[in-house]
């Protein structure tokens, strides 16, 4: 009996993985290999945006689900890794937008007297409770400052802070030029500096 052979060539980072979709188990194995190769990079990319491990893992799962759904539509116009990280960035930005909306809603609820516990940011273990408090406060300040940046500045800046992304790769992910990325990172740094200075000078006053 003849089998229908659907062969898809997927360029993954430096090497090229060929997916031979001759059956369910083969495609599952290939997808599983793809996840194994990129899961850490995707999780760490999401983590840079959301600063929370659980959220980062949840978003990473959504990224791979989306990738599985649209794998048929992937047209080799870019590297598979670039395509995956682009989905990761989009999903992370969506998550931040949802969180911002939720935050606004919860502050509205507090105004009308209904308490709503805000999700706290998971932080690395610290020695003392005061250190933890201070660190938590700093993360909040940083998140607020990052939230105030336009999406393209935020994305370029946060990807530049992630290990493993060159400016060329960031440009590929954001579908723009390297010089545009350099400019976005520069402007993001400047804006962040300004926001944080403003915050801390107001706090001191």
């Amino acid at each position: 009996m003849m089998h229908d052979v659907c062969q898809t060539s997927l360029p993954v980072h430096s090497n090229t993985v060929t997916l031979q979709k001759t059956g369910q188990s083969n495609s599952e194995e290939s997808f599983s290999a793809l996840v194994a190769e990129h899961q850490n990079m995707v999780i760490n990319t999401c983590y840079r945006f959301v600063l929370n491990r659980e959220d980062a893992e949840d978003i990473a799962q959504e990224v791979f689900i989306e990738a599985y759904r649209s794998l048929e539509r992937f047209r080799n116009e870019s590297k598979l890794s670039t395509w995956l990280y682009r989905i990761a960035v989009t999903k992370s930005l969506d998550h931040l937008r949802k969180k911002k909306r939720k935050k606004r809603f919860s502050s509205l609820k507090r105004m009308i007297g209904q308490e709503d516990p805000i999700q706290e940011i998971a932080l690395p273990d610290n020695d003392t409770p005061s250190d933890l408090c201070l660190e938590q406060e700093r993360v909040k300040v940083l998140q607020n400052a990052l939230d105030s940046l336009p999406d393209n500045q935020k994305t370029a800046f946060l990807l530049s802070k992630s290990d493993g992304y060159s400016n060329q790769e960031i440009a590929d992910i954001m579908q723009t030029s390297v010089s545009a990325i350099e400019s976005l990172i520069h402007r993001a740094k400047k804006n962040l500096q300004k926001k944080l200075e403003k915050h801390y000078s107001a706090a001191k006053a």
Binding site: D4, C6, K21, G23, Q24, S27, E28, S32, V35, A36, Q39, N40, I43, N44, Y47, R48, L51, R53, A56, E57, A60, Q61, F64, I65, Y68, R69, E72, P124, E135, R138, V139, V141, L142, A145, L158, K161, D163, L192, Q193, L196, E197, Y200, S201, K204
Partner: protein, 118 residues
């Protein structure tokens, strides 16, 4: 004033350093298992999609043929019923015309009157 500015600069630098010092995360060892479960739960059969894709066209054609066959049979039966109904109606109408003439009604009425007298 200079001291204050320096303190603000230090705070800003420390805050920005958070991003540089973020730990490199390793995926949970069950990450892939959870992922596959979620894919399966979200849309059962999604994992079978690439396998089924090759048969999609054949299945669609088969389904179309079945629908056409059923449709044709249904139409044929429907037209048979209609012609039977028409002939039945024709017969009733013809009978009605034959026995509802005024001449016949006279005899019918007379017969009824005779029966009443008797």
């Amino acid at each position: 004033m200079q001291k204050r500015d320096k303190r603000i600069d230090d705070q800003v630098r420390t805050t920005l350093e958070i991003l540089d010092n973020l730990p490199q995360l390793e995926a949970h060892h069950l990450f892939r298992v959870h992922l596959m479960n979620r894919i399966e739960q979200n849309s059962p059969g999604m994992l079978h999609m690439p396998y089924m894709a090759g048969y999609g066209l054949k299945m669609a054609l088969m389904a179309l043929l079945v629908v056409i066959n059923i449709g044709t049979a249904f139409l044929f039966m429907q037209s048979g019923n209609d012609s039977a109904m028409i002939s039945e109606n024709d017969m009733l109408e013809r009978l009605n015309n034959e026995y509802s003439s005024p001449a016949l009604s006279y005899y019918l009425d007379e017969t009824q009157e005779d029966a009443a007298l008797e």
